[in-house]
Subunit: 272 residues, 2 copies
């Protein structure tokens, strides 16, 4: 049963005035950034700084990616109140040892709270991503074209990261947030809400392929991770261990295939 | 007295091979990313993911910006051991209530651990940045030229943020890291180590002007904050409250002056 949700999305940008190099006063759109404190079964858990576009999905995805909640069915209600900057989450099985569960903290490059990292690194080798899944070059290029048309907030205000979930060239979700980790979590939450599995999906991010980004994609069971940006050493190491197909520096008709080449089909290859 | 420091800087990039859109195997430099767990007086505090260029300054700056240590003199030793991924910090006055001090967590957009945020927001209005400090356009442009020449890792591998501290057009420090928050903290730590005050300095970042970035600059007593990127709503609000002079979207001969215009002198103005 779907949890009871508020519908408290916020306007993405506000307009301020700045002075440019010519001394002209120019109206400038900037990205919203709002503190949202999660109360899990009446216990304060963490405060996220978010654009606030889809706060309910963000909170659910945060709980999922932090592995504080095991299944969407355990979440009864997610109520966001911007007046107080609070999000009240009610679960079917209140977690007794929140403190212990969240004690070991890691500040990941991508800003994730720590539990996800320490725990998942231990499990990373157990992860099995679908070996038969395939992505061809034409689909990759098609995705990139779709993304280009969707970066509304980035175009207007900059200062945001975008993440998208694709099934082939079909865009299922596109989320932008001031924190890249939030955009990922919001998609993870929406996947849970809609009962969408990751095994035949492609995850796209404008951000860098850091350890946290790769871990979260693998945790969502998504075999393909595509980024416009570069990658870090640990992102690379984890991608290889998790057997994820990772493509970076992808824009227009250019890309670099970093790992999991066996799932990727170049145009030439597929034509032969 | 300067703390006893290890000198455990790591190579910034490693080289991997990728396959490009033409099917060619291309050597690709990627940014290093290493977990470093801080043990503060033998108690595990947090694990940072870092490029590892200047880990000792990073750890000192982290403790400073998280307000866990009040003065550099309280730090006796900082010893980094990459074999174990551990950094042992010894202080003159071990903090008894670490748990309590770090209990309230905020995942800031810029990935800082939380204590800094909650605490400092309460103090932000008490901060007084030097009103007489001035920055003119020629100096800004000179800074931007210097920065352009220094982004070695970014040019080689991407996936890093750069931060710099300037006195006029003189570059005092330039730090790149996979985490923007790390680059800021490393500069804060180096300032402490060298006894450098912030009041006549200019802080430059390639990253976005988020709440955390503005708070940290203000906390370091630096009146000028310059970024190549845009800003977020909370970064803007805090900059106004702290009275910091904030310039964004600055590259080449272009910029947007967002706040604190009274400290900035345009070429035209200074020529008149």
């Amino acid at each position: 049963m779907r949890p009871v949700l508020s519908n408290a999305g916020r306007p993405a940008t506000i307009e301020i005035t700045a002075i440019d190099q010519d001394g002209a006063t120019v109206p400038t759109a900037i990205a919203g950034e709002n503190p949202l404190t999660i109360y899990l079964d009446n216990r304060e858990l963490v405060t996220l700084m978010t654009l606030g576009q889809s706060p309910e999905a963000l909170v659910i995805g945060y709980l999922r990616n932090q592995r504080l909640v095991g299944r969407i069915d355990d979440i009864l209600a997610v109520q966001v109140d911007w007046e107080t900057g609070a999000c009240a989450v009610r679960t079917a099985c209140p977690i007794e040892d929140i403190a212990a569960r969240t004690a070991h903290r890691t500040v990941t490059t991508g800003c994730g709270q720590g539990t996800v990292f320490g725990d998942l690194m231990a499990d990373i080798d157990k992860l099995r991503l679908p070996a038969a899944a395939r992505l061809d070059e034409a689909t990759l290029y098609g995705m990139l074209d779709v993304v280009r048309k969707h970066e509304t907030i980035y175009k207007a205000a900059g200062a945001v990261h975008g993440c998208a979930l694709f099934c082939g060239t079909e865009l299922l979700y596109f989320v932008e947030d001031v924190g890249r980790h939030n955009a990922v979590d919001a998609i993870a939450g929406q996947m849970w809400l809609d009962g969408v599995a990751g095994d035949d999906k492609i995850f796209y991010t404008t951000g860098r392929l850091t350890s946290e980004m790769v871990i979260k994609a693998a945790q969502m069971g998504i075999p393909f991770l595509v980024s416009r940006s570069g990658l870090t050493q640990m992102g690379y190491d984890i991608a290889r261990r998790a057997g994820i197909t990772m493509i970076g520096r992808s824009q227009g008709r250019r890309y670099l295939l970093f790992t999991g080449a066996e799932r990727f089909q170049r145009a030439a290859a597929s034509a032969s």
